[in-house]
Every structure is written in C-alpha cells, then in structure tokens.
C-alpha cells in the first residue's frame, strides 16, 4: 500500500498515469524480456548452443534476418509500453478537477504512438497516394462567381504520407506499424502457451508410458482430428473476438503436433545410456526428467517455435479476413488486407493499402523463415519439418 502511495505520488509529479491494463501490459513486456535474457544466459553456457551460434553468425542471410526481426521486436515492445497523459484544457493548460487533482486522458498512448505522433495526428480527409501532394479523389468546389469546378484538393500535409492514406484519411504507414505488435503477440504469445503444454504432456507420455501415455495420446489424437480452422472458428464465434482469445485458441489447436514429436523424442532419450545409468543409480524420476530429458528437448522446442511463428502470423491474417480474427479495434494486417480488398475494386485502383500490408508481412515472415531454417540446420540438421 505504501509503495502504491509513493508510486502514485511519483507519477503525479511527472504527469503520467497508469491504469490496470497498462500496468499488466508493461509488466508482461518486461517479464518477456527477462525470460529471453534468462534463456540466452543459460544457452550461452551450453556448448551445443555455442557451437550453433558460431555456425550461425558467419552466415549472411540469417544474420540480416535476425537484425530485421530485432527491429520488429523493438517496434512491438515500443507499442506495448503505454501510459496516460495529463488531459489538457482547451487553452493548453493541464486540467485539474475540484480537489486540484490532475485529470488524465481516457486513452493511453504507447511509446510507438508518441514516437510517430506526426503520422498519428496528420490525418487527411480521405484517400491519398504515397508521397502525393493532392487528394486522390475529386471534389466539387463552388468558386466565388458561383461556377462549380471538379478539382483534387491540396492535402493538409503534402508529401508526409509515405504509404498514402486510407479511406478515412489516416496514415497507412502508421496502421501497418500498429499491426506489428498484433502479429508478434499472435506469433509469440501462442508459442508461449504451446510450449509448456507440449513439453509437459509430451514428456509425461513418453517417459511414463502405460496408461498415462494412452490417455495423452488419445486426447491429442482427438484434438488433432478436428480440423484446426473449424475449431478456431467455432471457438471464436462462441467467445468474443479479441487478441488474447485468438492466442488461446491458437495455442490449444497447435500444441498437438509438437506434443507428439516430443513424445517420440522422449521415448528415444529414455533408452539412452545416461538415462538408464541415472535410473540405475536411483536418481528420482522427476530429477531425470528435469536434468536429462527436458534440456535435451529444448533445441527441438526452440526450432519448432521459430518455424511455427510465421505460420501463426499467416493464420491471423486469414482469420481476420474471414472476420473471426482479432476484431476491428485492434489494428492488424489481416484487417488491413480485408479493407484493401474493397479498395482494389475502386476506379482508379487504390493499391497502397494492400502494398503496405504485403511489405510489412513479408518483411516479418521471410526473415523468420530464413532464420528458422538456419537455426534448424545449426542445431539439428536431421530434424524433419514441413
């Protein structure tokens, strides 16, 4: 309580405010960064990963891909840290309420919103082409002498929109930037949901065998036999649309493949000499799993996650097109494509919406695929993936 009191006092002096949603979002970001640092730390001590890294760092394409991926991650992190600003009176002074307490904006702004505030604020009236100085559509104006004329009016911010503006005049580049976070959350959070499930059940089934194996095998075969898309669709129809619901159901439908794979690998590992030796020496089963089985599965998990990531991003786009994706409040490339499809039927054609979504999507998925392939080759060249 005392801490809370001081925190609030501190934030009021620097004029920002956090609500529960912002706090949760920001904490999640830092937790994720911590987790990644922790994983890199532990990997750096293992010769297996160090060798893979030595192999990886001399390759040009994967390294370029890694840099691009890092930029995307940075953008997404920037878009995840948010806080509320002081609300301003019409004259520009900070507004206060009766008790002289500061009043804050109802909408929080993220770091990305603030960094690209010119893109966010400089809205036009409707469509304009990339770098254009004039509006894309014609308007009728009445001259001083009463004559009517059709002209393309000058833009308020000529040349400012590198990828043009959409139907309501907002910047397409900014919309595409806002889609980065959605895509990375769909790819990343889903993976974070999948991993513990797959490892837990896969190792349990492979290590203990017998009826545990039967039950786990039965449950993932049953789940896998329902077509993924239909299961996702049913779930999203029944729940409310939203980013987190989507991640949860994608996680539920995607753990089966990895689980089956890890079960098979555990069966193989179980028969290896060092595991047999540990068992003969009377090491407890939990300790064997923790010390010998799971560490030897981690590289497979890592590869599967990176390769799965791009599939998730693609799935999100398709689902948003069908209309059961993240919903219209969350900016995503899928919803951009959906809107751009209608723009393509206009005459003359409006193409930059689609181009922006295309460039940003392939800019994420191609490096992810190249990096994933290189990672697989470095860590486990024999691994078969489709």
């Amino acid at each position: 309580m005392l801490l809370n009191y001081y925190m609030n006092g501190f934030m009021q002096t620097i004029n920002i405010h956090l609500d529960a949603y912002c706090v949760a979002g920001n904490c999640a970001v830092f937790l994720l960064i911590l987790l990644i640092i922790r994983f890199i730390q532990s990997a750096a001590h293992r010769e297996h990963y160090r060798m893979a890294w030595r192999q990886l760092k001399v390759k040009v394409l994967p390294m370029i891909s890694m840099v691009i991926l890092c930029i995307y991650v940075l953008l997404a992190l920037m878009d995840s840290i948010a806080w509320h600003d002081r609300a301003l009176n019409p004259d520009g002074s900070p507004s206060v309420n009766v008790g002289n307490y500061p009043v804050f904006d109802t909408n929080s702004l993220t770091l990305l919103d603030r960094a690209f505030s010119s893109l966010r604020k400089n809205n036009e009236k409707t469509f304009s082409a990339p770098f254009a100085g004039e509006q894309f559509t014609m308007e009728t104006i009445v001259k001083a002498n009463g004559a009517k004329q059709r002209i393309t009016p000058k833009l308020k911010y000529p040349g400012a929109h590198w990828l043009g503006t959409d139907k309501v005049g907002s910047d397409v580049l900014f919309a595409a930037l806002k889609g980065v976070r959605t895509a990375l959350i769909v790819g990343g959070l889903t993976t974070l949901i999948v991993i513990p499930f797959a490892i837990f059940f896969g190792v349990m089934a492979g290590f203990f065998g017998k009826w545990i194996d039967d039950i786990i095998q039965y449950s993932y075969t049953t789940l896998a036999s329902i077509p993924n898309v239909l299961l996702i669709v049913s779930f999203m129809l029944l729940m409310d649309k939203g980013l987190f619901q989507l991640c949860i159901i994608l996680g539920v439908t995607n753990w089966t493949g990895l689980c089956r794979f890890l079960r098979g690998e555990t069966l193989k590992l179980r028969e290896l000499d060092y595991v047999q030796a540990a068992e003969a020496l009377g090491v407890s089963r939990l300790k064997i799993i923790y010390r010998h089985i799971v560490p030897n599965l981690m590289h497979i998990v890592l590869i599967a996650c990176v390769l799965r990531f791009s599939a998730m991003v693609l799935t999100e786009a398709v689902l948003s097109y069908i209309g059961i994706g993240v919903g219209s409040n969350t900016g995503s490339w899928g919803t951009m494509i959906n809107a751009a499809r209608l723009d393509l039927t206009r005459e003359p054609v409006v193409w930059w919406n689609l181009l922006a979504a295309f460039v940003f999507m392939i800019g994420l998925i191609l490096p992810a695929n190249i990096f994933g392939d290189a990672l697989r080759d470095a860590l486990d060249p024999k691994l078969k993936t489709r």
Binding site: Y218, S219, T221, T222, L223, A224, S225, I226, P227, V229, L230, L231, V233, S234, F235, L237, L238, S310, L314, A317, V318, Y321, I322, G323, I324, I337, A340, R341, L344, V349, L354, F358, M361, I362, I365, L366, N369, I370, D373, K384, R386
Partner: protein
C-alpha cells in the same frame, strides 16, 4: 490384412466419440441454446416467448443428457445430446438453424464442385513439386539448388490472401484472361476453375518442394545409393530407379493424408471465387452464425481425418513390406 483394417477402424470409434463430446461441450455447454436463440433472433427486443418458440422449432428445448419426462429408451434418445450430436454418427446432419435447408443433401450437392477444384490442384501441384524437388536434388549444392530453395522460402512467406487478391486483380481485371469469380456446371466450369487451380498450385508449391527435397536428400545419403553408384550406375538412374522408389513411401503417406480432404475443399479459394462447394458453405455458415452447419462440418472433417489416417496406415503397409501388421 483384413483384420488389421477392422482393428484400425474400431480404434477410430473412441476418437469420434471424443470429437463428438468436444463439439457438444463447445456448442451446447459453452454456448447454451438460449444464447444461440438470442443471436439468431437478433439482440434487440427479444422476448422470452420468442426464444422458447425458436428453441422448440429447432429442437433445442430438450434437456441436455437425460430426459426425465420420457420412458424407456426415450430417456436418453429424446435429449439434445442424442438428437444433435449422436445422430452425426450415422450422418444425419439435420437441418440448418437459419435457412432450414437439409444439411446432408446440401453437403452431397456441394461435394462435387469442391472436389472438381481440389483434385486438379492436388494432382498438378504434387507433380510440379516432385519434379522440381527431383531436379534440385539432382543438382544439389549448386546455384540452382540455392536459388530454388530461396525462391521457395519467399513463396511460402507470402500469404495466400495476396496470391488470390493479386491474381484476381491482374489476370481477372487487368488482363481479363479469366472471369474473376463464379461457377457453371459441366464443361463450362473449366474456365472458372482454371485460375483458382493455378493459384492453389503456386500457393502450395513452396512448402511442397522444400519438403520433398529434404526427403530426397535424406534418401540420397543412404548406403544403398552408395552401393548403386559403386556398381557404376549413372547418377540419373540412381535417382530415378532407386531414390524415387524409396522416397515414394513418405510421399505416399503424405498424399494419403490429404486425399479425404479433397472433398472438403478450401475455405479461402471457394469464398473468393464464389465456387459453391463445401468451403464456401462453411464460410457462409460462419458469417450467418449457423451453428448447425459448423457443427456438421467439424464432425465431417474429423471423420475424413480419421479416414486419412487409416488410408495412410494401410498404404504404408502395402508400399513398405518391412512394416509388420501389429
């Protein structure tokens, strides 16, 4: 062999029951009929009487598992679980919630167009993939190999949506080579199916070539290939007479798994090109929130998946005599 198939088929029954329970939980427990009725009738000014009427019209007014008002078998048969979920086992899909069409006959009717679209996509697709994969396996390690694989990675990084939208715009609207969308019966359907087939092949070819390439390369590094080379066989006959034959086994399992799904069709293709198959049927049902159809398609999909696995197992044992039927 026969008893093996019977045993495998029996194994499918508990899985189908599991699927049924999951769909039941999803569609009737998470989303009870009251909410379904509310959605069907529209959120505004819904009276409790209207909900009751909708439920009794569509057979949702029964108890979930046990009907205490009935006697004999009807105690279990006259329930939502039996009427709506168990009936799927003998492919009695019932009627759609919104349009009241008979789902079973609709599925039979729409299987044709779906199949007509999916079969050529599949056959030509797999031919292109295998030929290309053989080619780059023959020239492995060369620039041709490197660039083909890179192009494959680029191709599989592009969303299917872009292929469809781009091709529709370029070939349909600008060049006017194909109609943008639509469908016709008989031989006239050909001109409508050409474009989606081509897009389907292009969209899937990246993943396929890479996958088959790894299969071939794995075979190439095996001992029997070295023996064949040592015998003095040319690289070409090694590849075609030995490697291809052995690589056929994993390819076959892959093919068998996709075979049943040719009837379901592709959600995206059919809805974009307005082809009246099962894919567009499903999409329309999703947009209309018609749960009876979605439910039926989930079950149908699961059945086809299990048939696919059965076919895979059987073809595996036929193609590879080393595998014992146990």
């Amino acid at each position: 062999m026969f008893s093996y198939i019977i045993r495998k088929s029996l194994y499918a029954i508990p899985i189908l029951i599991g699927v049924n329970v999951i769909t039941f939980l999803l569609f009737f427990v998470v989303n009870p009929p009251d909410i379904m009725a509310r959605r069907m009738l529209g959120e505004k000014n819904v009276t409790p009487e209207a909900i009751q009427k909708w439920k009794s019209d569509n057979g949702y007014n029964l108890p979930s598992f046990v009907n205490t008002k009935e006697a004999g078998w009807a105690v279990v048969t006259n329930t939502i679980f039996f009427q709506k979920s168990m009936r799927l086992f003998w492919f009695d899909f019932g009627r759609s919630d919104r349009t009241k069409v008979d789902i079973g006959s609709e599925i039979k009717q729409r299987m044709g167009p779906s199949f007509l679209l999916a079969l050529p996509t599949f056959i030509f697709g797999i031919m292109v993939e295998i030929v290309m994969a053989m080619l780059i396996a023959y020239y492995r390690g060369s620039y041709l190999d490197f660039w083909t694989v890179l192009i494959c990675v680029i191709m599989m990084s592009v969303s299917m949506l872009f292929y469809i939208i781009g091709a529709q715009y370029f070939f349909g609207k600008v060049l006017k080579l194909f109609p943008i969308s639509g469908y016709d019966t008989g031989i006239y359907s050909l001109k409508f199916i050409m474009l989606p087939v081509i897009i389907g092949i292009i969209g899937g070819v990246g993943v396929g070539i890479r996958f088959y390439r790894t299969l071939f390369l794995e075979e190439v590094s095996k001992d029997y290939v070295r023996t064949a080379r040592a015998k003095g066989l040319s690289e070409r006959s090694v590849l075609f007479r030995h490697v291809l034959k052995n690589a056929m086994i994993p390819i076959l399992t892959d093919v068998m798994m996709t075979l049943p799904f040719l009837f379901v069709g592709s959600l995206l293709m059919e809805s974009f090109f307005a082809i009246p198959g099962l894919g567009s049927f499903t999409i329309d049902a999703i947009n209309a929130q018609d749960f009876a159809i979605v439910r039926s398609m989930v079950f149908l999909g699961a059945v086809l998946y299990i048939i696919g696995q059965l076919l895979t197992d059987i073809s595996y044992t036929i193609a590879d005599p080393r595998i014992r039927l146990s």
